[in-house]
Symmetry: C2
């Protein structure tokens, strides 16, 4: 058995095609040219790369972007004031705040301040709560991408055992809510889990986002499982994820590569969320 | 080995004692007599019983209650208007909406309408999001009670495997977030899980809220595990939970009885949340 490799680009392409149509409808009916504001503090290289990738994606689907790059010397108050200003600005429908933020700026305060209606990445308490409650609208992009990938291969997760290796607020926790909403049985593992293999070996679906290359080998995977690798790690030999793809693909049924798997779908999901913020703004 | 039985009344007593002090401080500093409004639609008997238990608890700690019992003929709009009125009312610090609601009233709309600052049970999207994000303030009372019980026996859940049998918005999902926040490994099972025993048998902590008497027997439990029974089921022979207590207590290390386990702590947690809404109102 050799797994089918899921190329995210194809899924992302389908999502983007429908985004292009939605953007056109929005522009035609409102007369407004949609615009997204991305805010980044400092000069973290992966963040910059991600911002540029997103800008390119926005350009291609007809969404304008205002990229704000702020010095890491900014105070919390000044930063929150910028968010408040963008919250008010009528020519901007969506706002993305690039993480990580410097230590002196409280992430909690930032996402308390951000207007939930402009919250492209679904990270405000209100939108997180809606996701947890199964009333999904602006859902965090990476968890959403994982669900889209499974939908794309027509895999019904109901009653399946999903093992997620990540318990962060951005990935593991909202992804757990999405899977529970779809009636999967979910186990969440992380750095404090004693015997990860005892979980992954039982999983119908493994979603890993640990940021540890080689974490998941053929010893971790049940025959026929689905393996989704969310991690993006830069090594001397290039970009890689958590999964030893060459070995694991001989055991599992479907697998996502890194790069080219979850990443492009995540960006497409951000575009889809941008359309949602546009539609909220026009109501 | 015979388990130690955890009587919720003792834990609840300690929580209530501190609530009495907090209520006095609130009254003394603001000159306001604190008041909570509970709203119930129809005449569901367990709901009525629970409302009365809560009223009694409020009386004992010095919190006034306004109990509103509405006919099930009410329209959704009329119901939402009542919530809006109570949201505005300055003499009321907290609001509890008794579930279940009739089918014609959208639970989503109800908790979208309820002011998060008065949300005693932590069920609005905003407060749910805060719970998911680990910024815990108004946390749903039943999940909170489970955590309080474990804290009371000084049990550190970090790295432990918790199996939760319930994936509802009120119990399983927020409880998962609370355990993940404390770095436990969490598995969530429910009616669609194929082999529940394969999960429970591996658990350091089992939290069950399935509402199925006899669901958890000695065959389900690892030696020395902690078993917390959230269910309250009325049977011909009286109130019971999910766990066969007589058999299971011979295997596990700690166990909560039903009645007299989680229930009283849940009510005490509601009182504690009421104090939090008072403190928000006085800011």
């Amino acid at each position: 058995m050799t797994a089918e490799i899921i190329y995210g680009k194809e899924i992302a392409g389908r999502i983007k095609k429908s985004v292009v149509e939605d953007v056109k409808i929005f522009s035609d009916t409102t007369g407004i040219s949609p615009k997204i504001c991305t805010i980044m503090v400092g000069d973290d290289k992966p963040s910059k790369m991600y911002m540029n990738l997103r800008k390119k994606a926005c350009d291609l689907v007809g969404i304008d972007t205002e990229q704000i790059n702020i010095s890491s010397k900014i105070t919390e108050k000044e930063f929150l004031d910028i968010i408040k200003e963008k919250n008010q600005k009528k020519t901007i429908q969506g706002i993305l705040i690039q993480l990580p933020l410097p230590d002196n700026i409280s992430k909690t305060k930032v996402f308390e301040t951000l207007n939930p209606c402009k919250d492209v990445e679904g990270l405000t308490p209100y939108n997180m709560g809606k996701t947890l409650m199964g009333d999904e609208y602006l859902v965090p992009c990476t968890p959403l991408a994982v669900i889209k990938i499974l939908e794309d291969i027509h895999y019904n997760v109901k009653g399946k055992h999903v093992v997620i290796i990540n318990h962060s607020t951005i990935v593991g926790k909202p992804l757990t809510a999405l899977f529970l909403q779809r009636n999967a049985t979910v186990s969440i593992c992380h750095v404090f889990t004693k015997d990860i293999v005892s979980f992954t070996k039982q999983a119908d679906i493994i979603v890993t986002a640990a940021g540890i290359p080689g974490l998941i080998t053929d010893q971790h995977v049940k025959k026929g499982a689905i393996v989704i690798d969310v991690s993006i790690v830069k090594t001397d030999t290039g970009i890689t994820g958590d999964v030893d793809l060459e070995k694991v693909k001989e055991i599992c049924s479907y697998i996502t590569p890194v790069p080219g798997g979850v990443g492009p779908v995540t960006i497409a999901c951000a575009l889809e969320n941008m359309v949602k913020t546009m539609n909220i703004s026009s109501k």
